[in-house]
């Protein structure tokens, strides 16, 4: 098994595990983590594909950096929403 095969397989495995968990779990925080794991897996796939050419493909690398920024943006909004919803739930119950 070559290095490329290993990391492609790893990326696919991570993405599958993350997606499975995202679909099955109902805890909000666990869902947010699962979305992030799914993102990590897809980025690993992308970068493993970028590493096929001798200097790493700059277009795919740039795409991965874009993906990281989008990930932190949606995670931040998700985390704030979780905080808000659970704060309301805690305060709202008599």
């Amino acid at each position: 098994m070559t290095v490329l095969d290993l990391y492609l397989l790893l990326g696919a495995g991570i993405a599958l595990a993350g997606l499975m968990r995202l679909l099955l779990v109902s805890d909000r925080f666990a869902r947010l983590i699962a979305m992030n794991v799914l993102g990590v897996g897809s980025l690993a796939l992308l970068l493993a594909l970028a590493a096929r050419s001798a200097p790493v493909d700059p277009v795919l690398s740039a795409l991965v950096i874009t993906g990281l920024v989008i990930t932190v943006a949606f995670t931040g909004v998700g985390a704030v929403l979780i905080r808000r919803i659970e704060g309301e739930e805690r305060g709202g119950e008599p």
């Binding site: 098994m1 070559t2 290095v3 490329l4 095969d5 290993l6 990391y7 492609l8 397989l9 790893l10 696919a12 991570i14 599958l16 595990a17 993350g18 997606l19 679909l23 099955l24 779990v25 805890d27 925080f29 666990a30 947010l32 983590i33 699962a34 794991v37 690993a44 970068l47 590493a51 096929r52 050419s53 200097p55 790493v56 700059p58 277009v59 690398s61 740039a62 795409l63 991965v64 950096i65 874009t66 990281l68 920024v69 989008i70 990930t71 932190v72 943006a73 949606f74 995670t75 931040g76 909004v77 985390a79 704030v80 979780i82 905080r83 808000r84 659970e86 704060g87 805690r90 305060g91």
Partner: protein, 362 residues
């Protein structure tokens, strides 16, 4: 230090150990018992992924992962996980609240431990919401799961088996379109070849900042004391000592981006991390937060859009840089983007502090 591997050599012990570490990180962050365990495992996963990116030969992505992925993302997640406990402790003054909390915690643990909702028979007895669906919902869920699983498995396997045979066809074009003055390919791609993407991406971060502001109390970022009441004196001293170093590191990453790995996103992440550390250490940043964060948040996108309009004025296309002023334009845009990204990332963190502050004020 990890050296980049040739992708076609056989995977060695290092790769296998690294892959094993990543898998352990994934499993614990997905199936950890508590939110804290999940958040910490995700932090470790980020560190391992940084090594994977370096092993695959992309220092740019490794830097971005270390700054944005591991640093900021985990700061957000750990904050939610840890604040959960602090908030619960704060609310447990009254006995009935404690009981409710215990019930909620039991429900959350059941949800968190991977038991599908339909199999949790006893939850209704605790006064929780009833099971929303019966057999239909369960069948629908199974069909959806099977469909999604099938699609993803087919896609992933086809990528894994078929992708190596075809290299992307944009190699020549990228070389032709790289702007003058920027010799590092990734920066060139981000700010010229795919500049439109980068513009929209920074706009996404800006909108995330708007959402956080809108969800906050009075539409303002939290300006109260930092979460946890500040660290110890030693930590505070260390942060104050390191702050100038981090500032220089951030600026260096920004300017290094034109010729070597680095750039606006990595630099912005370091600067946002610096602001977060200062806040945790108890440095008073309230006035800066209140007066400057909002203008700085929009600065990057506004300057980028203005610079994009320079192309049509000079007779070229939207978002194209003339050869004479490409370097100046890219440097200006990068600097403003860095400031905007740092402000956006810091705002996301501040937004997390706000709801708790609002709750504990009562």
């Amino acid at each position: 230090m990890l050296d980049a591997a040739s992708p076609h050599q056989t995977a060695g012990l290092l790769d296998l150990v690294l892959a094993g570490c990543v898998l352990v990180g994934v499993v614990v962050s997905l199936f950890g018992r508590s939110r804290r365990a999940q958040a910490m495992a995700f932090l470790c996963l980020g560190v391992f992924m940084t090594f994977v990116w370096m092993r695959l030969g992309s220092v740019d992505v490794a830097l971005a992962e270390a700054g944005i992925g591991t640093g900021l993302l985990s700061a957000l997640l750990v904050h939610v996980a840890a604040g959960e406990r602090a908030g619960r402790r704060g609310g447990s003054v009254d006995d009935s609240t404690t009981r409710d909390d215990r019930v909620m915690r039991a429900g959350r643990d059941a949800r968190g431990s991977g038991i599908p909702r339909g199999d949790r028979g006893g939850r209704g007895d605790h006064g929780g919401r009833g099971d929303p669906g019966g057999r239909t919902a369960r069948a629908g869920r199974a069909v959806t799961g099977l469909l999604a699983g099938g699609v993803v498995a087919v896609t992933a396997v086809s990528v894994w088996t078929g992708a190596r045979h075809r290299l992307p066809g944009w190699e020549g074009e990228v070389g032709e379109r790289l702007p003058g003055g920027v010799s590092h390919e990734v920066t060139g791609v981000l700010l010229d070849f795919r500049a439109y993407d980068t513009l929209l991406e920074s706009a996404v971060l800006m909108v995330a900042g708007f959402v956080v502001l809108a969800l906050g109390r009075d539409g303002a970022p939290a300006t109260g004391p930092a979460f946890g009441g500040g660290g110890s004196a030693t930590a505070s001293w260390l942060v104050r000592l390191c702050a100038p170093v981090l500032l220089v590191l951030g600026a260096w990453l920004l300017f290094a981006g034109s010729s070597s790995p680095g750039g606006a996103f990595q630099s912005g992440a370091v600067l946002a991390g610096l602001l977060i550390l200062l806040r945790i250490a108890g440095v008073r940043t309230g006035r800066f937060d209140a007066a400057w964060l909002r203008p700085l948040l929009v600065l990057g996108v506004v300057v980028f859009a203005l610079a994009a309009a320079l192309g049509p004025l000079a007779g070229g296309a939207w978002l194209s840089w003339g050869p004479g002023w490409a370097f100046a334009a890219i440097l200006t845009v990068e600097t403003c983007l860095t400031v905007g990204i740092a402000a956006g990332l810091y705002l996301l963190y501040l937004g997390l502090a706000n709801p708790v502050t609002a709750r504990s004020d009562r």
